[in-house]
């Protein structure tokens, strides 16, 4: 019997409280401690929404992250931030991380967050997301003197340290985001570098579940072949953006012995997703990867590309559909709030 569980892919949009708090923090009007308290209040809303919707792993919403690279780039020596540039095919821009040497952490970004989230998240597990080293290098500017792939390796080292400490503080799910692997320009070599970097990070994750996430489109078959060599527990694919190609990919290449997370709830549009479309997609994916014992369901990307109201609605839909799918496809839904504590939560 296949077990189904749900977790949103990443961050949430800022509501008014978080927007105003960030504005006041950025302009220095608000003391950092007071800002933190306000952001925790805003974060509690999205954590509550995830718990109420039955998410197995929850994120804190990353409400204070201006983009996925920025908190890390700001915490590392030899990296500075330049102008803004578009993030894939979204009307969203990120600050370009410029590497002027090997990144060296001056402080850690994740452990403190995990501590704060752990109490709030129970009985669900704490999920953290780190930028994929390849994506960060490819979307940044390499002035380090290292080759891109050597720099990817150094970034992976620093992120591995982040992950080790995050797990020590209670994170149970580590997701490494490599959307660049869905880019038509991504090569087999890129995928190999990303897979090795993810493996390196995963080694430091101990007993935590690890996932390599690719989204905004399906990776090309040769890219996918390499990325499934990664020593992570799960491969997370956006199957909602280009469903036919995604299913074909799974049929042709399988899952490489990994568990599978399927991005099925459209996080870039605001309509309610069709249950029958989602069910068909999931059924086809399971059929393509017959060895699966568990399937995670998620959103096609982070939810911060839609307004807060719709992000909450999408969270609810994700939870609702996960339960219905489990019933319709003869599986079992794993919903922490109605289940016995799982081993990773014991103690």
């Amino acid at each position: 019997m296949v077990k189904f569980w749900a977790s949103v892919l990443g961050g949430y949009p800022r509501g008014r409280l978080a927007r105003y708090t960030m504005r006041d923090l950025d302009s220095g009007v608000l003391e950092p401690y007071k800002g933190l308290v306000e952001l925790e209040r805003a974060s509690a809303l999205v954590v509550g929404a995830q718990l109420a919707s039955g998410m197995r792993f929850v994120v804190d919403g990353m409400l204070d992250w201006h983009d996925i690279f920025r908190p890390f780039a700001e915490a590392w020596r030899n990296v500075y931030l330049d102008g803004i540039i578009r993030y894939f095919d979204n009307n969203f821009f990120y600050r370009i991380p410029v590497f002027r040497g090997e990144p060296e952490p001056q402080r850690l970004v994740l452990p403190g967050r995990v501590k704060g989230l752990k109490m709030l998240a129970e009985p669900a597990g704490v999920k953290i997301v780190v930028p994929g080293p390849l994506t960060m290098v490819k979307m940044g500017r390499n002035e380090s003197g290292l080759s891109d792939y050597d720099l990817v390796d150094r970034v992976a080292s620093v992120l591995a340290l982040e992950v080790r400490e995050a797990v020590a503080n209670g994170a149970v799910f580590i997701q490494i985001d490599e959307p660049f692997l869905s880019d038509p320009e991504a090569s087999r070599d890129d995928a190999r570098a990303a897979a090795e970097a993810a493996s390196r990070i995963a080694r430091e994750a101990g007993t935590a579940v690890t996932a390599l996430a690719v989204y905004f489109d399906s990776p090309k078959p040769d890219v996918y072949e390499e990325l499934i060599d990664s020593k992570v527990s799960l491969v997370s694919l956006d199957v909602g953006d280009a469903p036919a190609r995604a299913i074909e990919l799974l049929r042709e290449k399988g899952c490489g012995g990994h568990g599978l997370v399927l991005g099925v709830i459209d996080a870039r549009r605001i309509h309610d997703d069709s249950y029958s479309n989602v069910r068909d997609l999931v059924a086809k994916a399971i059929d393509a990867c017959r060895e699966l014992e568990e399937v995670g369901l998620t959103t096609t990307t982070w939810l911060d590309l839609v307004p807060l109201r719709f992000s909450l609605r999408k969270t609810y839909i994700l939870g609702l559909y996960t339960e219905r799918l489990a019933a319709d496809l003869g599986g079992e839904a794993v919903i922490p709030i109605s289940a016995k504590p799982e081993p990773y939560l014991a103690g």
């Binding site: 949009p13 927007r19 102008g83 540039i85 969203f92 807060l308």
Partner: protein, 335 residues
């Protein structure tokens, strides 16, 4: 009013938006709160437009814009004035900057002139310098809206194109010489099918238009769509170069580019003011590649200047104009 003669070589221009001047900020703030009448809104916006035009003239820019002073956002402004749209909620663009991403809830149709007043007013105070008509394109309107009505992108884009064409007709009837359609979203989905779809929409907008037809595209991997857009029914592509370190130029050479080019030489996301020498060097770089002649090159910023402080925007434009003058002298023998 004396006619202004636009230089034949390296005329200077702007992409469109300018930092919101205080009276425009006040107008928008009070309009959102429902505190002012439409007449009072227009009065405040006109005060801002006058200030923008004064800045342009001070800097020496040849072909102007109204500075988009009444536009809260390039998509929202038009969405609020087209039938078929409903107001949206806040979605982030970058950092902590948000826009109210509008929602298409019905068939999109033109209702009445949307930006005509501002353009006419700008023209009346421009001292004879031409003022571009600048409208957000149908592709970008759709991409940066949520669609709860069409489901079919082509159908939506073509309806938007028809609405925009209806708007363009208003300006043509009043003697517009430059019509620019802004399609920044086009670079976000650099596939042949998307480029062809946008091209089909531009056919609707520009069919039979005798004014100079311009399309502005920026910030993305423009080189990927370049081969698919070169046949667009436009006289000029206005493109961002500075921010992407001029990486697009070799592609123009490779594809035998021969239309007019709006050459973006000013980084609109950087507070650092490009020096005259820096801009001149960028112009020299283009000229040395020998792609097109100086009479086909329009010198301008990468994109709208709205995110910059006014003082920085003015200085950037001033240096850009000075560099164009030097280039004019050197490459075209014009004073």
């Amino acid at each position: 009013m004396a006619a202004y003669t636009v230089p034949k070589a390296f005329p200077t221009t702007v992409v469109g938006s300018y930092p919101k001047l205080p009276s425009a900020q006040e107008a928008l703030r009070r309009q959102r709160k429902g505190e002012i009448s439409e007449d009072e809104f227009k009065r405040l916006v006109r005060e801002a437009i006058r200030g923008v035009i004064e800045d342009y003239i001070w800097a020496g820019v040849d072909i102007l814009s109204d500075g988009e002073q009444s536009r809260e956002d390039m998509v929202v402004y038009f969405a609020e004035r087209l039938r078929g749209y409903a107001p949206g909620e806040w979605v982030r663009i970058f950092d902590n900057v948000y826009f109210r991403k509008p929602i298409i809830v019905g068939r999109v149709e033109w209702v009445s002139p949307m930006a005509l007043d501002d353009w006419e007013y700008a023209r009346s105070v421009s001292g004879g310098r031409p003022v571009k008509v600048i409208l957000t394109g149908p592709y970008t309107m759709l991409e940066w809206s949520f669609d709860l009505h069409y489901g079919d992108r082509r159908e939506a884009i073509l309806d938007l194109a028809r609405a925009i064409r209806r708007e363009v007709d208003e300006y043509l009837a009043r003697g517009a010489k430059y019509v620019q359609i802004d399609e920044p979203a086009l670079s976000t989905r650099p596939w042949r099918e998307e480029a062809e779809l946008a091209g089909e929409a531009l056919e609707v907008i520009f069919r039979g238009v005798s004014a100079k037809r311009i399309v502005h595209i920026c910030f993305g991997r423009i080189e990927r769509i370049l081969p698919y857009i070169l046949d667009y029914p436009v006289d000029q592509f206005d493109l961002e170069f500075k921010n992407s370190n001029f990486r697009l130029l070799p592609y123009l050479k490779e594809y035998g580019y021969d239309k007019e080019l709006g050459y973006g030489v000013i980084d609109v996301h950087s507070l650092q003011v490009e020096s005259v020498e820096e801009v001149k060097k960028a112009i020299d770089y283009l000229m040395k590649l020998d792609i097109i002649g100086p009479e086909k090159i329009y010198i301008d910023p990468d994109c709208g200047l709205k995110r910059l402080p006014r003082r920085i925007a003015r200085e950037k434009l001033r240096n850009m104009v000075e560099a164009a003058k030097l280039a004019r002298k050197e490459w075209a023998g014009e004073e």
